[in-house]
Amino acid sequence: MENLVEVRDLKVEATTDSGRRVEIIKGVSLDIAPGEIVALIGESGSGKTTIALTLMGYTRSGCSISGGTVRIAGKDMVTLSERERAGIRGTEVAYVPQSAAAAFNPAQRIIEQVVEVTRIHRLMPAEEARQKAVELFRALSLPNPETIGGRYPHQVSGGQLQRLSAAMALIGDPRLVIFDEPTTALDVTTQIEVLRAFKSVMKKGGISGVYVSHDLAVVAQIADRIVVLRNGEVQEVGATADILTRAQHPYTRELLAAFEPKPRGEETVVEERKVLLEIKGLSAGYGPIQADGQPLVRAVQDVSLTVEKGRNLGIIGESGCGKSTLARAIAGILPASSGTILFDKSELEGSVRQRSRDHLREMQIVFQYADTALNPAKSIEEILGRPLMFYHGMKGKQRDSRIDQLLDMVHLPKTLRHRRPQELSGGQKQRVNFARALAAEPKLIICDEVTSALDTVVAAAIIELLKELQRELSLSYIFISHDLSVVEAICDEIVVMYGGRKVEEITPAVLKAPQHPYSKLLFSSVPRLDPSWLDTLELDPELVTTYGHR
């Protein structure tokens, strides 16, 4: 059978700040047959997006294709003129970007953007294009297919937008569609809908696809073949089932292993169970305070929970359910509108400004995005040195040696101390972020999605680190995540939130049997490594309509 895509010995170079040229794709070859879906998987920075883009004959600014050929239906995208390439884009190859929210022009109605391909390439009259778009909306099981196009991008949800961007890619009847991590930013419950929609449309049209992801379980549901990448090189290629069950390459095995993190292990024996943090009837939100003393947007309502010394509490729930708001209220960043916070037996003031320095020190918060949590203008040494100086008055040698210790604790080499955050990898940044919290010598650390921005291998390593530190320093964590397996791996208790309220509190032991219907839906939506999981999954339609994304 004639291959639709033939990539041979592809090399891509990038020019760095100093003008040095580095090879980021080092001789990759791959084929895609018509109607076949191939997944590119690998850790962050392995070159997945870069390869996917070369299939469009495009490289991001600063990069260029330095060798090899990319043939799509016989035409070499590398040597074509810019005009000819533009002619192919949208009609033969189409692209579904990683973040649909960013890929839609905020100033244009959705329908305009969806049918734009037909206008650019003069494929069909405007009215016909509209009709076709509506059909696609229907096929992708979007609600109100007739009218949804008239909205602006900010007026639809993330999952819908992701499907709309697929419609945008499909309208030109391409022979190849490239999906770049289309579900990474979505909730597990939404992810299922989107995956299903994609799969059925591709099948129906016999369209070839490239599916980029770092999530093996997702890939398993949709791909025929998997290409494992690392550092711009292909590690292993194989049929989906083969890769999942008989992975040859050690890196692939590592990926597989990281997917199922080790469970909590045996509990550290705590002599007497002492309550560290007790929250009663906490409400918090945004916007002006209303007549009833509550804010306009009530993001968290009437939540009570306790954290015991040396034990961990997990908080899960879909995006926007109020997890971060709760964390911010506990930390005093966003003073709670009502409710009490008891910490180490004393009641805490609502706002950071009123809390004593010791209370601030004993409760630290670690944020999801290490990029924004670390000041890019400061060296690692300064970042770690400040809390030491601020809380413990350490100076000079003493501080230096303590910084070394901290770096050591989070398994970072000492040589890193003079670097700036942007000179570190994502995992390294998150470790520094964590080391800064440790520098305060806290009793409780609130971790808000600390692993969500990391790829599975790195995330698993961070989880291991957290566990290790807990053993050594007898810390407590509040661990916020939407990823169930991660919470499961580290927490003693789990709180499930929905719509700003706590709906259930469970222990890992009873994880498999949640009581609350929302918890049930949530837990059953987590993809399994089994390729047939999606096809056989049956969700209670009633649950989906009540709790799924509108």
Binding site: M56, I88, G90, A103, N105
Partner: protein, 316 residues
């Protein structure tokens, strides 16, 4: 339009009004600080002390400052700009014709410079890094660097004295035909365009480039869109906010900043009037002119804000 947007706009207008109040306060007291006793200036050297005292009382100059401020502000709000100290004419009459002249010059300059600047800025961004882009950049830097009186004087020398194409003076009031208007306004407008366009070009280019670097423009590229389409249909609508702000800031210069151009072309505008006012210590005149400039500035800025709000569908 949603009530939310109406609210936003109302807030903008309220802020502008508040700022104007602060301005009026500052203007009143800054000008009141000018040295020279108004009554003495008015009556001249020969004035007797009694005459001066009499005039002071008649003009309420002896009242406490806040009372004078309130009286002045009240008058201003009710459209009474006061009476010129110098020649006893209502300030409104003095300003009237000149205000129209200023607005006309500003208007024509706007009509000319804004499309020019936007075109240059947008095309430079579109062909970023090309020879054309570089040429535009060098041109704008060059233009930004020359004092405006040099530009204006050189223009007069070349076009009036040597080539005799255009009149050296611009008497707005003599204009009777379109051809004459072109002649009269050509040089002031060109000189002012030199001053205001460079900044607009720079800002437009920067704003468009900023939006060109967004993923949705990249998406357009991956749909096979041409460069002009990417820029005009995708980048530009999203750069409207910063661009109108830059344009408003530049244009605010045309209300009060054109004193040099008015002087060199002898154009009877309001900036020169205010300079006259300062020279003769004609406080009502100075205050009214200053207020007009501030109102001009604030309306432009507020208008820009409102346009930016309306252009943003997220707020609509």
């Amino acid at each position: 339009m949603s009530t939310y947007v109406l609210n936003l706009i109302a807030v903008r207008l309220l802020i502008a009004a508040l700022t104007l109040l602060i301005v009026s306060f500052a203007v009143f007291f800054a000008t009141a600080m000018l040295p020279g006793d108004t009554a003495t200036i008015l009556l001249g050297q020969a004035a007797t002390p009694e005459a001066v005292a009499g005039l002071r009382t008649a003009m309420h100059l002896d009242d406490p400052a806040y009372l004078r401020f309130l009286r002045w502000l009240g008058g201003f709000l009710s459209g009474d700009l006061g009476t010129s100290y110098v020649n006893n004419v209502a300030v409104a009459d003095l300003i009237g014709g000149r205000f129209i002249n200023t607005m006309r010059l500003a208007g024509i300059t706007t009509l000319f410079s804004v499309p020019l600047a936007l075109t240059l800025g947008i095309t430079a961004a579109m062909f970023r890094g090309s020879l054309y882009d570089r040429a535009v950049t060098i041109l704008t830097i060059g233009v930004i660097s020359i004092p405006e009186f040099m530009v204006a004087t050189s223009a007069v020398l070349v076009f009036s004295v040597y080539l005799k194409w255009l009149p050296a003076l611009s008497f707005a009031n003599d204009v009777t035909s379109v051809w004459q208007m072109l002649q009269v306004y050509a040089m002031p407008v060109i000189s002012l365009t030199f001053v205001v366009a460079a900044q607009m070009i720079r800002m437009t280019r920067a704003a468009v480039i900023d939006t060109i670097n967004t993923p949705y423009v990249e998406t357009a590229l991956l749909k096979g869109a041409s460069r002009p389409r990417m820029v005009l249909r995708h980048a530009l609508p999203n750069a409207v906010g910063p661009i109108v702000n830059a344009v408003a800031l530049s244009l605010s210069y045309l209300v009060g900043g054109v004193i040099i151009v008015e002087t060199i072309f002898n154009y009877p505008g309001i900036a020169k009037l205010m300079v006259d006012g300062v020279a003769t210590r004609d406080l009502p005149l100075i205050q009214s002119c200053a207020m007009i400039f501030c109102i001009g500035y604030l309306s432009l800025i507020t208008l820009a804000d409102i346009i930016a709000i309306l252009a943003n569908p997220r707020l609509r």
